[in-house]
């Protein structure tokens, strides 16, 4: 009965309504659609449930195998009992289990009736999928059972019990290379029959869509806003499962590397009295009658912890930016990976940590996330990141020179805009064969007030940015640890020093020279995988127009 029934995508229902709206289209529009959709669903749902109930009710009388299928009653999934049965993970279904009976729980990704006597069900769990075959026989499976299974809605949660078998030909449509011959099938939880997003549509690469179009077929493209409105469905795709597993892996390596170098993980408050970075891009709120801000970074507090004698610290936590940025690389809330450390002599000690941390991270991702990276590659093809064993460090002046030599007009003491950064990334790649490099000694005027000026030229500062594929992901610097200079610099940058007095005072009680850096977690993942939008690497992104879901 082993089968080579492979192309799970072949049988899709008519594509659901979809907006191909651009990123900046108002989310409000989609919400209306959502409401309409929800009503429709609820109706469908009731219809479906009553017919299912009818089927189940009809079952027992005329089907000797009626115990082998059906909807699991709610009471049974309310922690009624512990049966002691063992579930096998779909990812663990391998050849060695051939002939063995297994019990799996998964999502019904596709359900394909072949005839009244046979059907295929592809079950998915996390990133793994397996093909299950339901075929009428004299011992376990009745035609009613096939009917029950084929009436299930896609994305429903299903328990399947059956025998593992190895098909003669390799299976193309699933991750697992075995099949399950179903003996029992129960529905744990039903999805509405009309889903706002078809997960298979959401998982399809642009290349596949175009190939199908060329062949005269029509697949639905799922727009960015629709994806985000129905994120719970969208994140079920292999690429998204992989993206957020890689994100977690990045954090694992970040933490493990820094811990091994003597850093202590800390947590600083997000509710603060003054703004941490200055400027208007701050969310304000009332804190028990006092005006408060959401921290734009843990900058001030992580420095205070260094003044508190912790030597080397890091923090992973949300940072909030009320900026009206509608770009592919800005969010109003993102996860900051922050580092702060005492330095003995030079901020290059900080650059050294950046260098070793990120080379270790890239190595680790390439080595240990192969499955995830290829899942992303299948939907969003990208070139592997080029990086050197010892990270290239250029000065800002050298960068300016490279740009000028290439005919790009730039202000030698101004900031680089996104376009110029991209161009420089290109030039660096051509000359040094790397997508990852450090640009140091930035002009003082374009850095925050707490940045230490250069000893030899106060127009420049002991600071750096780090780039991946021509986009900035890290900013770092030596900090001013002298309270008088800090006050002067804050005032020069238009900061109300009263609002940061406890920060400035921290440097009066014996403050070690120190420096640090901040990284955006979403940007690391986005740029390592060359994804085109930061919203793809945030589970529930927040931008100026999106506060939901």
């Amino acid at each position: 009965m082993a089968s080579s029934e492979n192309d799970a995508a072949a049988q899709t229902p008519p594509p659901p309504a979809d907006d191909n709206s651009s990123e900046s289209a108002p989310a409000a529009l989609s919400k209306k659609q959502a409401k309409k959709m929800a009503k429709k669903e609820a109706k469908e749902d009731r219809k479906q449930q009553s017919s299912a109930a009818a089927a189940a009710a009809a079952g027992p009388e005329d089907d000797p195998f009626s115990g082998n299928y059906g909807d699991i009653p709610v009471v049974e999934i309310q922690s009624k009992a512990i049966s002691g049965r063992e579930w096998t993970e779909i990812g663990a279904l391998v050849d060695e289990l051939s002939g063995r009976s297994v019990l799996v729980r998964g999502v019904a990704q596709t359900i394909r009736p072949v005839s009244k006597k046979m059907a295929f069900v592809v079950l998915r769990q996390y990133v793994s999928t397996v093909q299950c075959i339901l075929s009428v026989d004299k011992e376990f499976v009745s035609p009613q059972m096939v009917k029950f299974a084929t009436a299930l809605s896609k994305e429903s949660i299903v328990d399947v019990e059956g025998i593992v078998s190895v098909p003669k030909e390799p299976i193309k449509g699933t991750t697992q290379q075995v099949e399950i011959q179903i003996r029992k099938i129960y529905c744990v939880n039903r999805a509405v029959s009309l889903l706002p997003i078809n997960v298979e549509d959401a998982a399809r690469s642009e290349a596949d869509i175009q190939k199908a179009e060329f062949a005269g077929e029509q697949f639905s493209r799922v727009g960015q806003d629709t994806r985000l409105n129905y994120r719970v469905l969208d994140i079920r795709t292999p690429a998204n499962q992989a993206i957020f597993r890689i994100q977690c892996h990045v954090e694992d390596v970040f933490r493990r590397f820094l811990r091994s170098e003597g850093f202590v993980g800390i947590h600083t408050p997000k509710l603060i009295a003054g703004s941490s970075e200055g400027g208007a891009a701050v969310f304000k709120l009332d804190y028990k009658g006092q005006p408060a801000c959401l921290a734009q970074s843990p900058q001030l507090h992580k420095q205070m912890v260094i003044c508190g004698g912790f030597g080397r610290v890091f923090e992973v936590g949300p940072v909030f930016r009320a900026e009206d940025s509608y770009t592919h690389r800005h969010l109003c809330e993102f996860v900051g990976l922050d580092v702060e450390m005492e330095i003995k002599e030079h901020y290059f000690e900080v650059c050294d940590i950046v260098d070793r941390l990120f080379v270790a991270m890239f190595d680790d991702l390439n080595e240990n996330c192969k499955t995830e990276l290829s899942a992303i590659n299948r939907q969003y093809p990208f070139e592997p990141l080029k990086y050197l064993r010892k990270t290239l460090k250029l000065t800002f002046e050298e960068g300016i020179k490279m740009l000028q030599d290439a005919g790009v007009e730039v202000d030698p003491l101004g900031d680089l805009n996104t376009e110029v950064e991209r161009k420089l990334g290109q030039l660096v790649r051509e000359k040094y064969d790397t997508d990852f490099y450090i640009l140091c000694r930035y002009p003082l005027a374009v850095r925050p007030f707490y940045t230490m000026p250069c000893y030899d030229d106060p127009k420049y500062s002991n600071s750096f940015d780090v780039f991946i594929r021509g986009e900035e992901i890290i900013s770092g610097a030596q900090r001013v640890h002298l309270p008088e200079l800090l006050t002067t610099r804050a005032e020069a940058c238009g900061i109300d020093v009263k609002t940061i007095s406890s920060y400035i005072d921290s440097f009066r009680y014996g403050a070690p020279p120190h420096g640090g850096f901040g990284v955006g977690l979403e940007r690391v993942v986005m740029l390592f995988c060359a994804l085109n939008n930061i919203r793809k690497t945030s589970l529930f992104p927040r931008d100026p127009q999106r506060l939901a879901p």
Copy 2:
């Protein structure tokens, strides 16, 4: 020249002004004091700096060893050069280095002139301290050099170069059992001479204060509010260095354990449209013209990620509670350790994770944080936590019965207040010899709307709390994964379901049965170490009256 000059605490300056105000005393009062103090300091500071400059200026002419000491010029600590010199960590100073020359950077914890020709300097780095001896000789040390060193203010950052020696008698006042015979001493950064908190005062145990009082001596007690106002100084004490290193270790174990069990670390938004837990205790703000809240927990979003097919997830992040709670165990912002997972049949599958995670954590802390635990114990003595290899699980009804048998009046369907929880903890300890247990099957009425009712009695729920030393640290439950029941329950609990519609809709697309729990990181550390106030385990605590530093 090796010495047994030990009691670093013997010579302290007159105790600084201090408030012994209770925890709930308004922070505003202390702020005024702070301002006054800052002014005074600034004046002292200027005085001190000019006299130091004078001394340094006088040096070169009449002292052949003038190159061996002095203030390092600012320009030298502005990343001027990388000298290639090697610094030794104070914690790495051991017998084996005897006779070797080392360079260390540390905080001048105490400076004791013995005569015009000799002085002791205790240097501190993180949790380690070492005694350094400065004694006039013909090769390196002049009387002017001794004068320079003894004029340094405590808590200044100092570089010392010298020879390691092993004293004949053990050193009681420092962690390291070697001394450094100073040959060079430079000040990297000066502390103001009049510190708002004396670190040695802040580090003293109540027992030591009382012992001194009994002997007719007077030590200053540093009140909780003063500590928090000058947190940068307060966290330099051994106990505080230990507390926050343990906190980081707790997070290490949490993450490592869950990763090894197949959980994925996630980050969910803190800026949300509706409140996540209902009730009034929510911080509100304006989000680009839309009303927004700060998430009181990642509850809704972590469940949505489970609906998104991630199977098992965890999150470490800030949670915000606008409650007017002035207790020893409530904060307005704390770090939540959150877990959510699919369950196959029973919420005891969640309890099993709690059990194994926390037993692993307690084992690990006891095994790997001995130094830190004893540092805390020296200032805040506590009994080691009693816990069983397999965590005790009692039902709420059993708990009520134990309380009633002990003559405590309790509502069998109401919540337990703090006092009753403590009492139950005591009874459990007496009967089962454990400080750590799970109380399950809580009355439904006292649990949040998303809690799954019991299959056999809707007055109860599939939920649990976990207690350490009679105080709650964890709340967990099976969740309602059926959208209709969820809507009914939300309405019954007075939640405006419109504000959580995208959450409720998440369960319409195929939702697996699931459960999870949330832990307060600060509470774990507080209760493991039996500390009396949660403000001791938060770096920069936020309560209804404290938004700074």
